[in-house]
């Protein structure tokens, strides 16, 4: 056996020559191990993320080998740094341009809550404009913390129902952020 680690198989029924599991789990396994990141880096947390993508911490191990600075084909929006109110609409547009399924990680104090910038010009947490799945604490968080955030997100993705994105509940969540099915902001 080689020492290459593979993702463990989801729980299911194993017999001779077959393995049965639910579609949810199979799809979740695939999605969780190929989270393609879209870094939205504005400040110091972005620098920490660059270290996370470097060889020492190697985010690529998690199937995040393709960082794209475009919403195309990306699943995981990482918001890193202070988001000023003037930047808010830009971030929201990037989020809307991503295709479903999409997840958001707020990295660091500023993206999560505005951080030390408790002032009129700074958005007090990106969850005021887009839904957030994982918050990474720290100012700035170490690369280990960002990796931990990605792993927490993997747990979320693994257990997410395939039908969640079509559900009424999810539509309501997006509408509470004034994001509608046709991508319009009304």
């Amino acid at each position: 056996m080689s020492d290459i680690k593979l993702a463990p198989a989801p729980p299911g029924v194993t017999g001779s020559g077959f393995f049965a599991t639910t579609l949810d789990k199979a799809v979740g396994l695939a999605r969780a191990n190929s989270l393609w990141p879209l870094p939205f880096a504005t400040s110091c947390c972005g620098i920490e993320f660059m270290a996370t993508m470097g060889s020492t911490y190697d985010l690529a191990r998690f199937g995040a080998e393709r960082p794209s600075f475009s919403p195309r084909q990306s699943d995981m929006l990482l918001v890193m740094g202070t988001i000023a109110k003037k930047m808010g609409p830009v971030l929201k547009q990037v989020y809307i341009q991503m295709a479903e399924p999409r997840w958001v990680i707020a990295v660091g104090a500023c993206a999560s809550s505005g951080g030390i910038f408790d002032t009129y010009s700074v958005l007090q947490g990106i969850d005021e404009i887009i839904p957030v799945d994982v918050y990474v604490p720290g100012c700035p968080p170490r690369p280990e913390a960002i990796l931990d955030g990605v792993m927490r997100l993997q747990d979320i993705v693994k257990t997410e129902s395939v039908r969640r994105r079509e559900s009424e509940e999810y539509r309501k969540l997006l509408e509470s952020y004034e994001i509608h099915k046709d991508g319009e902001i009304r």
Partner: protein, 167 residues
């Protein structure tokens, strides 16, 4: 050429503008004078175009809010003479309710963005400015945030109370 000293500079200004230009202070050798909004553009033009003084570089235009004063907004001009390596600061005090002052874009094109910034943060209206709109803050903002009229923190916020941080 001998270095232009502040005494000579002040004499030249007083010779030209008499009592409309008054010295206020000289911290760290930076001559500071005060004038009125009627004379500010003339003063700037004189400093820039005078053959000897040659204050050709407009360093900054900004403002200060003094809430306790009757004329509560001071517009501050920093002008630099690259030839003499001397700087002068000119202040004009304005009524805080309706701060209006003629634009310096007629003298320096570079004043355009500086005046937009000063309008953005202090609400000073530069009369005759070609495009006076906000430059740094969001366009739909209704306040002028650098005026000392607002509490530093929103008193209604609950998300950053001390007990959340174990204090």
């Amino acid at each position: 050429m001998a270095k232009l000293d502040n005494q000579v500079l002040l004499e030249r200004l007083e010779q030209r503008f008499a009592e409309h230009v008054q010295k206020t202070d000289e911290p760290f050798g930076l001559l500071s004078v005060e004038t009125s909004k009627e004379y500010i553009i003339e003063v700037l033009k004189y400093l820039k175009t005078d053959k000897e003084l040659q204050f050709i570089y407009l360093t900054d235009i900004t403002a200060v809010h003094y809430p306790s004063q009757e004329l509560s907004i001071a517009v501050v001009y920093h002008v630099h003479s690259l030839i003499h390596n001397v700087r002068i600061r000119i202040k004009v005090f304005l009524n805080g309710d309706k701060p209006e002052i003629p634009t310096a874009t007629t003298v320096w094109n570079g004043a355009n963005w500086m005046e937009r910034e000063t309008y953005d943060f202090f609400g000073v209206i530069f009369v005759g400015h070609p495009d006076l709109r906000r430059i740094l803050n969001v366009d739909d903002m209704e306040v002028f945030p650098m005026r000392k009229e607002y509490p530093l923190e929103d008193p209604n916020k609950v998300d950053k109370k001390e007990f959340f941080f174990g204090r």
